[in-house]
Symmetry: C2
Subunit: 506 residues, 2 copies
Amino acid sequence: MPPFPSSLHMFHPSLNHYLKPNFFSLIYFSISAPKFPLSSQLIAFNPRTLSSVATALSPSENGSGGGGERSAALAGPPVLENSVQKIDVNPPKGTRDFPPEEMRLRSWLFHNFREVSRLFGFEEVDYPVLESEALFIRKAGEEIKDQLYCFEDRGNRRVALRPELTPSLARLVIQKGKSLSLPLKWFAIGQCWRYERMTRGRRREHYQWNMDIIGVPEVTAEAELISSIVTFFKQIGISASDVGFKVNSRKVLQEILRSYSLSENLFAKVCVIIDKIEKIPIDEIKKELNSVGMPQEGVDKLLEVLSIKSLSELEEILGGAGEAIADLKQLFSLAEKFGYSEWIQFDASVVRGLAYYTGIVFEGFDRAGKLRAICGGGRYDRLLSTFGGDDLPACGFGFGDAVIIELLKEKGILPELIPQVENIVCALDHDLQGAAATVATMLREKGQSVDLVLESKPLKWVFKRAARINAQRLILVGNTEWKKGMVSVKILSSGEQSEIKIDELE
Amino acid sequence: MPPFPSSLHMFHPSLNHYLKPNFFSLIYFSISAPKFPLSSQLIAFNPRTLSSVATALSPSENGSGGGGERSAALAGPPVLENSVQKIDVNPPKGTRDFPPEEMRLRSWLFHNFREVSRLFGFEEVDYPVLESEALFIRKAGEEIKDQLYCFEDRGNRRVALRPELTPSLARLVIQKGKSLSLPLKWFAIGQCWRYERMTRGRRREHYQWNMDIIGVPEVTAEAELISSIVTFFKQIGISASDVGFKVNSRKVLQEILRSYSLSENLFAKVCVIIDKIEKIPIDEIKKELNSVGMPQEGVDKLLEVLSIKSLSELEEILGGAGEAIADLKQLFSLAEKFGYSEWIQFDASVVRGLAYYTGIVFEGFDRAGKLRAICGGGRYDRLLSTFGGDDLPACGFGFGDAVIIELLKEKGILPELIPQVENIVCALDHDLQGAAATVATMLREKGQSVDLVLESKPLKWVFKRAARINAQRLILVGNTEWKKGMVSVKILSSGEQSEIKIDELE
């Protein structure tokens, strides 16, 4: 594919590795967990050959050494305001800090979200984490409304930390109006918030990867979205035996409501009630369905349909003429062409908890049955008009950062990510710190990462630090060599040592 | 540098280009703005050769075409809850949406922040955007305190959207305590918030790149931090004739306070007052200094010293024995060794507006004098104890996303970033949409990005879309070829067209 083939390959090798061995495999380390290339963000896998070193240098053990050698040379800094306060050193309830080890995992996950989105030709977008509360208030009684992290700001406006990204997307699409050329294929990775009693270890914030397609009424859009999640799973080492997708269409419910001549206004409310089916007792569900106006016969029929797990059985009940069956059949046929039919199954009980879905809905689940839903989405063709805009066909999914990490842990394939720096540069004499700075600058100008030792430290300390940060090369700036315009270079993996002219350092 | 040289180069070429031509230059487009490699995030520069096409396809112009062809085949979706609300389609006051064109710029900026941080061996961290309000309340009367975006949450806790990242860093460092091995070299890119009347077009949120070094008492740390900002400026095409750094030490003020036997408790308050010197009249400054307890003679002396712009003049007044002069001399000497002396100058009037700085402070400024400070930072050796922790030597800087974008605009070197997809795949017949999906999957498995046309569209529409997304190759799936196991491939830059066996597609 001239003229861009090899050069472009360089920048997106991450999907290649599990499908096609290529020259990038040179830099994959041999580990049992799924393999990933070195990224540009200080992320590297713990090579098996170094794992003993890395274990010996876990932060806690190494800390005592490094910490013990903290310089005591504090040159009498000025005294600040006498306002010592004992603060709570934990992050606020339900939130997280991301120290380097957690951040590496988050960056790795986001990198994979972005890589898959790129493969599918999606463009990245984002919206304010703080939105007007009105954007999230819907009348269908979803859980999300009760858990809104909302408050009044100093200007007496009702605002909320976003619980999800889709309403903001809808707002932006309405705002841009005719200037957008359809279809839009957008993705976002954003932090979302909910306020709830902190039971069951659920946090108040998480990150969510969303992909949305606006402007395509055909089921090809839903098929494409599921294909991208499957691609993501494969990329991080998850197979069809680990997870699957339950697929349904809300049009099934709609057709049942119609057959009982029930108002379509009930539709969203009924969906939200049914979504709770695994969380509250069935009698409660029945009561709630009665209370929104469903007659007992309709409730019974509904509950019968919900237990159906095969499309042919559904067709027997609904007949083959409706849109529900047609959409679902098309989706299953496309899944074969996309190559992921083994990942999906029909399940009439899946309706998703958000009020705005209108057609196909799907949910990624852990086949071992230990975890909550991993991701979910569907078609929401009527959302824009509920905000006063013109409707556009739309579908999308949300994928959280929490459950997938739990799943990777369960499967024992959570990647081990360790820091990595190419060079550690150290002056052997206090007077040579400037010289070491010059060496560091030269290397950085050549694109090499450098940890510059900023104080006079004993060599033992320097070697310990080099091991902790997984440096590949130690460059010592000593007096004798420096006078000759040279430095001493030690390759840390092999122990190989040499003197190199500074302008020949590569 | 065996064994990693060429492979590692592949993942961090972005600094190389302005220093050392290498094989990566193959994929740089020739443009007048600074050149950058294709990233893995759908970002590419507008090549000069294509600029006419790109201009002709700006979103607004193209939108009418694409929008006009929206399919009307909405298959009667169900009616949702009758709860139409006319929402405000703008993001909340003072916040921003990031549609693709804005997001590309943000991603480009963050990519450069990360690249530079990587070159300097820093690890990425993050903290909650929502912190306890107590973390930000200090008694020195900084502007930041008055502008805190704070509120009471539903559990009656006082919380705030973080106005800056340093207090969270301090909190995490205290929390981790002895388990950390010093020095820490951490960076973060986080959204920060302030609440203020929306005058002068200032927004209520911005992103800030922070780099901090914890555990190094020597001025080498400050010198290293300024070096990383200089590296960043160079990387995005900004030179020493565009921006500079004003450098000072708060120890200068401290020595003056001491010479008047004034309490060191005044120190932070005096610094915060002096920082306002360019914003409020000098008489106001004098009054405020008097009101915190400085005698008139001290105020006069202070104002005299603040106007000093040379280190030798300062030495005449303070004498050469103090720490202030020693630190500053060391910094200027190191700046030479790091190779950025032309970027920095002494300026006694710079003290920075945050209460916690204790030593060297610095501020990046636009030499044309049109813009606010671009970035700033300094040493804050006593911050941890104000939170009840053990002090550690520390310094860092904050660099916002707003002023630098303004500066790039001013200089006419804002990069033009356009979307880019390698392939656009389209079925020529509705029945072949599944076949097109198969082709898309094959290409994606090979790491190629694919925009799959999800509906039956006329060829004219497909070519327009291909141009808009800057696709390199158009792959048409037609009946005759498909029966032979082939597709039609058109290289869009050259117009070259051929039939290729699908399993030979690369």
